[in-house]
């Protein structure tokens, strides 16, 4: 188990470098001048020159990268070129919003997906076909569009849930739930269907395996066969696929936060992109990468708990 965690941390370090280096590299590829891009075409040469010095854009590439890494290690990620606010502070304050969207979505996706997938594998028939159709929709419909449809039904037409905005959990738990319900549903739809499909496939395989036939034949009650043996064994491949689904959902928050006007990292990233705010986008990229590493670690742990082969060896 320790070896698994160690291995994950080891491959995470290159991941951090690859992402930040790539973003930095992009900056140096900008045709013309980065400061000009940030300030826009109408900026005065003096302002451009000042920003160049301020951001250290005149220094050689590797020096600037080393400089940034050196500061980043101590928690200093520079400040926004638009608002002047420190990047780290805005990233941290917005992280909570994104997580309160992402974590419930992943939990919902895992629970609903596994339940639907198991039901479909065991029952078959119309339920399986229904799940097939729904999972096609979950695959095909873009989450931001699903979000808008949910808004037009539940907020505009029925008026039961707010269309936009975010209430922190600390302010009012019930309003918090109301504010994240539609975004969570929209964000998790893809995950639910992907996990349902994966669960259905692996549960069908497990149901047809020798050990299930053997345990059934020798008197293990059907309830236990399904809820203990089939569920446990089919969740192992599901845990693996959860990794990629989580990374996808993390990206999905960018679109969902814009639909529902939630002040999270995703909307920060979009705004930074529109504003050409390079220090902010670097901070968000780093934060997303750290989130991916955390997600991967949690999934490694879940995988280890589910699969005794990892635990024992």
């Amino acid at each position: 188990m320790l070896r698994v965690i160690g291995h994950r941390l080891l491959v995470s370090i290159p991941l951090l470098f690859i992402v930040t280096f790539a973003v930095f590299g992009l900056e140096s590829l900008i045709p013309g001048n980065a400061a000009q891009t940030i300030l826009g075409e109408n900026a005065t040469p003096a302002a451009v020159a000042q920003l160049n010095t301020q951001m250290g854009l005149n220094d050689p590439f590797f020096e600037r990268y080393a400089h940034w890494v050196g500061h980043a290690v101590t928690g200093n990620f520079g400040s926004s070129v638009i608002s002047g606010a420190p990047v780290w502070t805005s990233v941290v304050t917005r992280l909570g919003v994104t997580m309160s969207l992402l974590i419930p979505s992943l939990v919902l996706a895992a629970v609903a997906g596994v339940v639907l997938g198991m039901a479909s594998a065991v029952r078959g028939g119309w339920l399986a076909r229904l799940i097939d159709v729904v999972s096609l929709l979950g695959f095909a419909l873009p989450s931001f569009w699903v979000g808008l449809i949910l808004v037009s039904i539940f907020a505009v037409k029925l008026g039961v849930l707010p269309a936009t905005g975010y209430t922190p959990l600390g302010t009012s738990p019930s309003e918090w739930i109301a504010s994240i319900t539609l975004p969570v549903v929209a964000l998790s739809l893809y995950g639910i269907t992907a996990i349902a499909k994966q669960t259905r496939d692996s549960a069908s395989e497990v149901l047809d395996s020798d050990y299930i036939r053997f345990l059934r034949a020798n008197g293990v009650p059907e309830r236990s066969v399904l809820l203990k043996h089939v569920l446990r064994n089919s969740s192992i491949p599901v845990a693996t696929s959860l990794g990629l689904i989580s990374i996808g959902a993390l990206g999905g928050t960018v679109f969902i936060e814009n639909v529902f006007v939630l002040p999270g990292l995703g909307s920060l990233a979009t705004q930074a992109t529109l504003d050409h705010d390079i220090p902010v986008i670097l901070g968000v990229a780093l934060c997303f990468t750290l989130a991916v590493i955390a997600i991967n670690l949690v999934i490694d742990l879940i995988y280890g708990l589910l699969n005794p082969k990892v635990r024992v060896s």
Binding site: V11, L15, I18, V19, A22, L26, E27, L29, T37, G124, G125, L136, F139, A140, P142, F144, W145, L148, I149, S152, V156, S204, L207, D208, D210, Y211, R213, F214, L215, A217, N218, G219, P221, E222, H229, N233, L244, I247, L250, V254, F255, N258, V259, A269, T270, T273, H276, I278, I281, L282, V284, A285, F288, T289, A291, V292, N296, L306, P308, K309
Partner: protein
């Protein structure tokens, strides 16, 4: 599917290393309705977008404010937007940038993934190790934020974003292509090509690449689906071409701003995105189905479960289990197939019946049908299996619970996969013991240890803590036997219990079964292809061939005078009968697969005694007296010939 009904066997000649992937994937794709529909839609969409200036009914930028937010009409087929622009025309023009973006992504995806995947799979070694590592890391990159960073630097440059997306998400595809190339490399025709002195590029382009085509098409169409989702997402965030240029994502954003007074506007743009993504997705799935091995195709099939027609034959006097006229049908992609026809046999209390035959003869299916554990796509069509007066084949699922383990138990072919790998040996045994005895934890633990001692396992206290993958095959089979005996059954079905084990372990397990049978008085149905096992353990045998019982007799009679040519041939192939220094005899030909059975005798094609009469009509069982039957027209004369 297992040995019983292997319908997908191929018979490759050993000499000719032909390349099996030469048939066109595109042609087979267009032959399926799904493939035709999705390819058709995508082609129409591409052409319509390309020809937008010609086919679009209106100028996509022309505003007609007095027609703003109109629903579909003869003039505006899909209605108008908030500025009175024609939605259909905007969709067609918007399709150009969306589909171009997908195309750019796909090209980058292919350029990165195909060479890397093939290099890793075909070259192996260090190349493989490095590529695999990099792929692992890149798969964790949060792609969206990289794209946003790119768009921060390169204002509204969706092309650059799509190319980057294609390259970054090539990691997953690289992995799939690598796996495909790796498996092709191991195949016969590639080594043959290497031996013939073909150069590496020749082998790559003529053999490896064509075999990876299926995977490439599948992955690329799935990527295209994702790419379109991202492209529309980015344009939705207004990171694409500036307004008023029409984009699909931008149209969704426009629709969102007027969602409270006209929700209809969400439908055309979102619907078209959805349908297009769906087409790419279905295209990928269809190609996967075409190129995948057909063995997975029957996975989702279920045969209808209905009460089988009961058999008319009377059970044998005093029999514990009496199977009569058992017929089983499997549902396959190419229709329903009979795999068992009219199988009958009896088991007396305390005796061991051997169910003998080559693989593919239907022994395992017979055992599973009797246990009520056929695969989902199999169903009993006809027959009965009376166990202690109850017809097992007509038994509702709920009433099975009272029999399983308590009256009838099973041990199966591969001990290493017979136990659940996620639970310890002790946990599984305890669960079964408690289900049978309704006992407490401590009591159940004692019983578990007792059972493990009964099957002669040393150190039971240690074994209960082990996982199945931590113990040897022989130990696992003993654990399986202990588990089967937990409910003190009257009948044990042993499906090839020793086939997967070493010879010395085989003998120990058979000894153990014999001893346990003497102590408990249970009857055993022993499924096997091994005449040595039959001679050692069975009192009676039923020989099976191509889904039928062809001979039934006492063991001694069969060994002395087999009355069916198949039994005779089968015994001659047994290593015990081989003469020293001479090759072991083999029966020429193969067991015909279900669905290819002839009308007459099913063994006729391989039978040395075959006559015209044999092929004419189905051969019935011939009663030879003294509890013997044979499904051969010549049975009587065979017996007379051998006994004379």
């Amino acid at each position: 599917m297992t040995a019983g009904v292997d319908t997908t066997q191929t018979h490759d000649g050993p000499a000719a290393p032909a390349d099996p992937a030469r048939q066109s994937i595109v042609r087979s794709l267009l032959r399926t309705p799904r493939g035709l529909l999705t390819v058709g839609f995508l082609v129409v969409l591409f052409v319509a977008s390309l020809l937008a200036p010609v086919v679009a009914p209106h100028d996509p930028l022309h505003q007609e404010l007095k027609h703003a937010l109109e629903g579909p009409s003869g003039q505006y087929w899909l209605g108008t937007d908030g500025l009175g622009r024609d939605v259909l025309s905007r969709l067609l023009y918007g399709g150009r940038s969306s589909l171009l973006g997908v195309l750019e992504g796909v090209v980058a995806h292919v350029i990165v993934a195909v060479p890397l995947g093939i290099a890793a799979g075909y070259l192996g070694g260090w190349t493989d190790r490095i590529i695999t590592r990099v792929v692992d890391i890149v798969m964790s990159v949060p792609t969206i934020v990289i794209l946003l960073a790119l768009l921060t630097m390169f204002d509204r440059n969706i092309s650059a974003a799509m190319i980057t997306l294609g390259a970054l998400s090539a990691a997953g595809t690289t992995r799939m292509i690598r796996a495909a190339a790796l498996s092709v490399r191991g195949e016969l025709f590639v080594s043959a090509a290497e031996l013939l002195g073909l150069s590496r590029p020749q082998i790559l382009f003529r053999h490896i690449l064509p075999r990876c085509r299926g995977v490439i098409i599948v992955q690329v169409s799935l990527f295209a689906a994702v790419a379109l989702g991202i492209q529309t997402g980015l344009t939705y965030l207004s990171l694409g071409p500036p307004p008023p240029a029409p984009t699909w994502g931008g149209m969704v954003a426009d629709a969102a701003s007027s969602v409270s007074n006209d929700p209809w506007l969400l439908v055309p743009a979102g619907g078209l995105i959805g349908i297009t993504v769906l087409c790419f997705g279905i295209l990928g799935d269809t190609v996967r189905d075409i190129t995948a091995q057909s063995s997975t195709a029957s996975a989702g099939l279920r045969a209808p479960r209905r009460r089988p027609e009961p058999a008319t034959g009377a059970p044998e006097e005093g029999a514990l289990l009496s199977v009569r006229e058992l017929s089983v049908t499997f549902r396959t992609p190419s229709g329903d197939r009979d795999v068992l026809t009219s199988v009958s046999f009896d088991v007396q209390p305390g005796e061991t019946l051997g169910l003998v035959g080559e693989s593919g003869s239907g022994k395992t299916v017979t055992a599973r049908a009797v246990l009520g554990l056929l695969e989902n796509n199999g169903a009993v069509a006809h027959g009965s299996a009376r166990f202690d007066g109850v017809d097992l084949l007509a038994l509702p699922r709920k009433r099975w619970a009272a029999l399983r383990g308590k009256r009838i138990a099973l041990i199966s072919q591969e001990p290493m996969v017979a136990l659940d790998p996620s639970f310890t040996v002790g946990a599984q045994l305890r669960e079964v013991v408690r289900a049978h005895d309704h006992s407490g934890r401590a009591e159940a633990h004692e019983r578990v240890l007792e059972l493990l001692r009964l099957v002669e396992l040393p150190d039971p206290e240690e074994i209960v803590k082990q996982y199945p993958f931590q113990i040897s095959g022989g130990m696992a089979q003993r654990v399986a036997i202990a588990l089967a005996l937990a409910g003190r059954p009257d009948l044990l079905v042993a499906d090839e219990p020793t086939t997967a084990l070493d010879v010395t372990v085989q003998a120990e397990i058979l000894d153990l079964l014999r001893r346990l049978q003497q102590e408990t008085g249970m009857a055993i149905v022993l499924v096997t292809h091994d005449w040595g096992v039959v001679a050692d353990s069975c009192s009676r045998v039923a020989v099976m061939y191509a889904g039928q019982v062809v001979e039934r007799a006492d063991v001694e009679d069969v060994f002395r005078h087999p009355s069916h040519p198949y039994t005779r041939a089968l015994m001659a192939t047994s290593p015990e009968h081989a003469e020293r220094g001479r090759p072991i005899a083999a029966i020429a030909g193969q067991v015909p697969a279900p669905g290819t059975w002839p009308t007459g005798c099913r063994f006729a094609a391989r039978c040395p005694l075959m006559t015209e009469a044999c092929r004419r009509e189905p051969v019935a069982m011939v009663d030879l007296g003294e509890g013997r039957d044979s499904r051969c027209l010549m049975a009587t004369s065979i017996l007379e010939g051998t006994s004379a």
